[in-house]
């Protein structure tokens, strides 16, 4: 496997086995997350094959490479903590149709129109929560997740990341695209695991690979 996405100067080496295991763990977790969302939107949720990148905030090219599906849109961040600390960033393309999921979540028609950002926070919480639970179960660790919050409505993700006061400078980022055709929704999920927690993460992975 050729790998141009890994940062050559990153001190911690992600060998192929660990990379493979991590991608599969997130693949399984996102499958569970997609199933939760599919029940609410009453349609199939399409997921991409997870891609892993080292991203350094000081390198805009890293960020652009990680966020290629939806470079600009509504950005929501959900932090997580526990055995690992990090954050989930979701970038939603503008213009999705929330009618069905709004009904599922007991929003009235007027509320669906007015509270689209709240609906996106709900969607993020459903996806993020299910994904993190999946990861925690498989790695046999404890993870807690905070409330998702809206960071920006019309920004490029790169701008947000460069300016934000978030918790990391360099992180291992898992990127997964997802879409729901009947909602015209396309999104990019980035699960950011800061460099300082990667050794702990690998300890769990190595245990799993034994």
């Amino acid at each position: 496997m050729t790998d141009t996405s890994m940062h050559p100067e990153v001190p911690i080496e992600v060998d192929e086995l660990r990379k493979d295991a991590l991608q599969e763990i997130f693949n399984i977790s996102m499958g569970q997350a997609a199933d939760s969302l599919a029940c609410l939107v009453k349609d199939r949720v399409y997921l991409s094959v997870p891609q892993m990148h080292w991203v350094e905030k000081s390198d805009v090219q890293d960020l652009k490479a990680a966020m290629k599906r939806v470079p600009k849109g509504i950005i929501i961040c959900q932090p997580f903590s526990g055995y690992l600390k990090g954050e989930i960033l979701v970038c939603y393309e503008q213009g999705a149709d929330f009618t069905v999921i709004g009904e599922s979540l007991a929003y009235t028609k007027e509320q669906v129109q007015k509270w689209q950002h709240e609906l996106l926070l709900d969607i993020t919480n459903i996806l993020g929560g299910a994904c993190l639970r999946g990861v925690a179960d498989q790695l046999n660790i404890r993870l807690e997740f905070g409330a998702p919050n809206l960071i920006d409505r019309h920004s490029e993700v790169t701008t947000i990341l460069l300016n934000s006061s978030s918790i990391w400078d360099k992180a291992l980022v898992m990127e997964i695209g997802f879409s729901v055709q009947s909602m015209s929704m396309t999104s990019d999920i980035l699960i950011c695991m800061p460099e300082q927690y990667i050794n702990k993460l690998f300890k769990c992975i190595d245990h799993l690979l034994e």
């Binding site: 192929e16 086995l17 493979d20 295991a21 991608q23 599969e24 693949n27 399984i28 977790s29 996102m30 499958g31 569970q32 997609a34 199933d35 599919a38 349609d43 199939r44 949720v45 997921l47 094959v49 498989q138 799993l208 690979l209």
Partner: protein, 119 residues
């Protein structure tokens, strides 16, 4: 019995191979994506195919479609992280014998194999 295991993840292929019944013997072919699996089936390397769905190059649904249109007789068991009802329905319509949600366990595999009469 010839077994082919197709998954883009090495960890997942290993977990399938580890979970296979001890009483089974025979050649195991490993494939990293759907096209490799299709070629293995065409070459007669699979009586049973354990097939993932989300893969690069060719996904599992495409493999099932091709096996059907080329009338290649293989017992296919899909093992996938994507287990939404619509996906399972599509997989069964395309002729798979069974569907197993990841993560795979020995118990899950054994139960399924018994259910479809392969064990």
């Amino acid at each position: 019995m010839k077994i082919t295991v197709c998954d883009d993840s090495l960890m997942s292929r290993k977990s399938v191979i580890r979970a296979l019944p001890e009483t089974w013997s025979g050649a195991i072919t490993q494939c990293k994506h759907g096209l490799e699996a299709l070629e293995a089936c065409r070459a007669g390397l699979a009586d049973i195919l354990f097939l993932d769905l989300t893969m690069p190059i060719m996904d599992g649904l495409e493999v099932l479609t091709r096996l059907k249109s080329e009338q290649i007789k293989v017992s296919v068991i899909v093992i996938s992280a994507d287990f939404q009802p619509k996906v399972q329905q599509q997989v069964m319509q395309l002729g798979a014998l069974a569907f197993i949600n990841k993560p795979l366990t020995q118990e899950k595999l054994e139960g399924t194999l018994k259910q479809v009469g392969l064990l």
